[in-house]
Symmetry: C2
Subunit: 240 residues, 2 copies
């Protein structure tokens, strides 16, 4: 099944932008009367009939809508320090979208080698990954902020976890999600923070702990930043 994307779904009509219209009409050769499926990126899949096959701006009439299409039973925010090699971070973003994530928040740590990040490419990436993996909702790419800023601004009722390599007692993500650590499993959402190649600074880690973040371990293997982030997403996905 080929999905199209449009945020323009008012008055029973879906309007495709030029890129989607060209793909629909020129590449896939859809004609007036054809059935097409469109996601609004907010969770709903619309089954439509093509009414205007204009390759610059096609229009389709909505026949039915399916809210929560391809959704998952949790709300996960992954706050991850972008890798020096951006391909590795983009790979994480694509795979996390396939498995199931709601917000990807690029965060810059004191020890991050990469201090700046353009999010345009990531937004294109999550859009195509969501369409490819049949999800009605497209993950939100948050604007990059510092690790410190992210820790201070995270919602107080979220289930917040931080992965770092320092010593000290740690739980597994499964333990935290099962409520075994006293943290509320019925929380408004899950938030996991993954540091840069050089790990967090001790100050960043201490700030998180002082704010009630739970230190978690992903297991014994030594994982790259992007691998650790994907293992965390998979462990949350597998717990539900």
């Amino acid at each position: 099944m080929e999905l199209f994307f449009s945020e323009n779904t008012d008055g029973g009509l879906v309007r495709l932008d030029q890129e989607e219209s060209t793909h629909c009409v020129r590449v896939l050769r859809h004609r007036v009367g054809d059935e097409i499926a469109v996601i609004d990126g907010r969770g709903t899949l619309y089954r439509c009939v093509l009414e205007d096959a204009d390759p610059k701006g096609a229009t389709a009439r909505i026949v039915s809508g399916e809210p929560g299409f391809g959704s998952h039973p949790y709300h996960l925010t992954m706050a991850v320090c972008p890798t020096k090699n951006i391909d590795r971070f983009e790979w994480f973003v694509e795979k996390a979208t396939e498995i199931g994530v709601d917000v990807i928040a690029p965060v810059i740590g004191e020890r991050s080698e990469r201090k700046v990040l353009k999010t345009e490419r990531l937004e294109r990436l999550v859009r195509s990954a969501a369409k490819q993996s049949l999800k009605g909702a497209i993950p939100l790419i948050a604007a990059p902020v510092s690790v410190r800023e992210f820790i201070l601004s995270a919602p107080s009722d979220a289930l917040k976890m931080i992965c770092y390599c320092f010593d000290g007692p740690k739980h597994t993500i499964a333990e935290v999600l099962s409520g075994g650590t006293g943290a509320p499993p019925e929380s408004s959402g899950i938030c996991i923070l993954i540091g840069p190649e050089g790990d967090f600074s001790p100050q960043e880690a201490e700030l998180a702990l002082s704010r009630g973040w739970v230190p978690v371990t992903l297991g014994k293997s030594r994982l790259r930043t992007e691998t650790a982030a994907l293992v965390a997403v998979t462990q949350v996905y597998s717990a539900f």
Copy 2:
């Protein structure tokens, strides 16, 4: 910590091949008397002192050995149909090595778009990934065989699971590993079979079931071949 690789560890000496010697002496500028760490690819880490800094063939004396360095408490064989786009399969091989896998067996399904695979690149890949993620053992890359052949030749006492998209009762990998399905958790090893983009043929799936393979689900998300394979590795890794 920088690891070197050598299978040549006889008589208390480690001999590095030309590539490793050049990296050790020319790139990292190690001198006679320097301590270096060498893995033998079979699970042991050797702490050595460089005795001959020949960039074409360096030699080091073994000071101590650490068997089971960076090992994991399971034996996992991942039999995966290589993707049409080989980058995606190579990505899986690298990430699976980081997380923890013992054998990667490329298998060709009746519906595989890719029918041939060169394994040289994969062998270089697992070697560098094992060194980078501090593991003494380098995963074995098996010679490609057909799905049918692989199913028929799999050890009878292994915990064998197959992931496919057909309907029917399925277990989770965690259920199978916990012995909840009657399969022996104390088995000699775990073997998971992942199909091609077009899934297995019904005949391949039936053959596996008739041979006692347990059908497993990885969850609700629609995953690409390489993502499904990595989710399976992560679920095994997380269960131990």
